[in-house]
Symmetry: C2
Subunit: 188 residues, 2 copies
């Protein structure tokens, strides 16, 4: 909504990523914006609301990136490759927020925590289905689908770390390499 609220969320993303949600105080966030902690409450309802918005906005980004690919008519192997690249592109585009999304969601209170878990499971299910389709088409080996999906997602979800350091990393090269590695890993 307001521009100030966006600034708060962006500063919070950085701090939550660096120190973690619990170790970041409202006074830390305020200081990074050059205002007092109490002034934050002109723009947001609570500390947890900031976390909620970071987490659920990221969830939307991931779904938005992957849904057109799922609905497309390309062959299973290529569909999974595109999904991997889309997922990695979202992480590269929303670096700090991805770190918070991946590590700090457990500090959400109810009912947001349950909603979050449901959404995450729904997202993983998309990858499970893509893998299953590849098995049915005879391209992938017959394997433990849940285990494969979790392994693939974890092999991707560390990449936000690499966009922080001094070395300049090319997101496209990263995506290409991880995509190839994961696909070769499960092809017949």
């Amino acid at each position: 909504m307001s521009v100030r609220k966006d600034q708060i969320r962006i500063q919070a993303q950085t701090l939550f990523r660096e120190r973690g949600y619990v170790a970041t105080s409202m006074r830390d966030i305020a200081e990074s914006l050059g205002i007092e902690a109490a002034s934050l409450y002109n723009h947001i309802h609570s500390k947890e609301q900031i976390l909620q918005e970071i987490c659920f906005r990221m969830a939307e980004h991931f779904f938005a990136a992957i849904e057109p690919i799922v609905k497309s008519t390309v062959v299973p192997v290529e569909k999974l490759r595109l999904a991997i690249e889309a997922h990695l592109a979202v992480i590269a585009a929303h670096n700090d927020a991805s770190a918070v999304f991946l590590h700090e969601w457990r500090h959400l209170g109810e009912p947001y925590l349950s909603d979050f878990k449901l959404m995450r499971n729904r997202y993983e299910k998309i990858f499970r289905t893509l893998i299953e389709d590849g098995i049915k088409s005879g391209d992938f080996r017959d394997m433990n689908i849940a285990l494969t999906a979790r392994t693939m997602l974890s092999a991707m979800n560390w990449t936000y770390e690499s966009y922080n350091s001094k070395r300049k990393i090319d997101p496209a090269e990263t995506a290409s390499h991880i995509g190839t590695m994961m696909l070769k890993g499960i092809l017949k």
Copy 2:
């Protein structure tokens, strides 16, 4: 050393894993042992010392598991497969501690934080070398070694999650599947 100190560390592992280091208070740890918070200080020096011991003990476990494999004379491909299985066996054997080791180390203070990062880099370097050897022997494709090592470790490091739920997961099957997936992913 003392049995009570071990009990404190074990309870802390569970709580740190569930709620995170910062969100776990000394009173929480004390309560889980049926004593008062102040009584903990008869056995430990500080809250952070507990975290230090969890993290550095785990580091020792990982090195101890992998060093004999590195020193062995098996062929590069098999060496990497054994290293993957050893790494996954350590995680399976030290479930809660692995979660803390992987996620809470950043709350270490100096000089422990720097020491930890050095050790972790040294450990990753072992995997980088194993991959490099496989490239030199002509078994693995020529690829970004650092990127490959990080991807492999991340593909392994989520597995502590799976040993918590109601479903009974077989660590050996997990290790076998992830090992195969990673190796096929990088073989020529």
